[in-house]
Symmetry: C2
Subunit: 132 residues, 2 copies
DNA sequence: GTAAACCTTCCTACCATGGGAAGGTCAAGC
DNA sequence: GCTTGACCTTCCCATGGTAGGAAGGTTTAC
């Protein structure tokens, strides 16, 4: 199976597959005589795993950990849960931060006329550095 | 006023001030005989504007627009509001996306024993690509 | 036999930030 | 006056994750 077919089957771009191999996230794929990488269904499975984890916002480093656990049949589920929980915590923190940003901006935008007049509390606030 | 003092007064790192100048976000600062950049209170004001906008998640491009509007005393507030609204929309979309991620992960983590046993719905889900 | 679609490696860019090297300049203390 | 340390300058490099493209080899379909 060529890299293109593996990409189509897994939803991970061929470019990204090569990249993941280059940074050591994936073990180097075996090569055929023409130096083409050769993939099997197992690799596709692994690629789908990676694609899905990326879509869930896991970093490459986290995915590396998860992959190692996934490859190890006997690993305790505690480890996986720990990584997932840490990731959830990180997500929640970022969500809270962005919600605070959005709330501030909504307040400012609500107070702005949004017409031909130049007075604008949004710029005033940015200039004065309120809510610090 | 040296770049270090401007950085301290504005809360924007000296490294970033030079960077913003290099990419054209800021006009080149005047130089003294020793080639040191020289800043005034007006520049500090502008830097605080940038720092605050960055903290609110505006991109450099957006800040460029906002700065141009800010420098233009007569601009209509409509323009500013438009940029802010667009930014709020982007923030809300990203928040919703991250909330969906967190919810999925919470479900999965809740179903995971988190003990010595290897069964783990988190890994199973990642492998199978559910919720696609 | 030729064209299209594929593969390979390598270089480049993005965005925002930061580390660090190598060298010039200023201020304080002795 | 001289040293020391803090500051400034430019320059290169790195991060993370993705993507575009160039230059060249291979396979497949017609």
């Amino acid at each position: 199976m060529n890299i293109g077919a593996a990409a189509a089957a897994s939803g991970v771009a061929a470019k990204m597959i090569r990249h993941y191999e280059a940074i050591g996230l994936l073990r180097p794929a075996p090569r055929r005589d023409n130096a083409y990488r050769d993939y099997g269904s197992r690799d596709v499975h692994e690629l789908r795993f990676i694609g899905r984890a990326r879509r869930l916002g896991f970093s490459i480093a986290e995915i590396g950990e998860l992959l190692a656990l996934w490859r190890d049949r006997g690993r305790p589920s505690r480890e996986v849960k720990r990584i997932a929980d840490a990731h959830i915590g990180g997500l929640e923190a970022r969500i809270a931060e962005m919600q605070a940003m959005a709330a501030t901006l909504r307040d400012l935008a609500a107070a702005c006329h949004g017409d031909d007049r130049p007075d604008c509390p949004i710029l005033d606030d940015l200039a004065l550095g309120g809510h610090e």
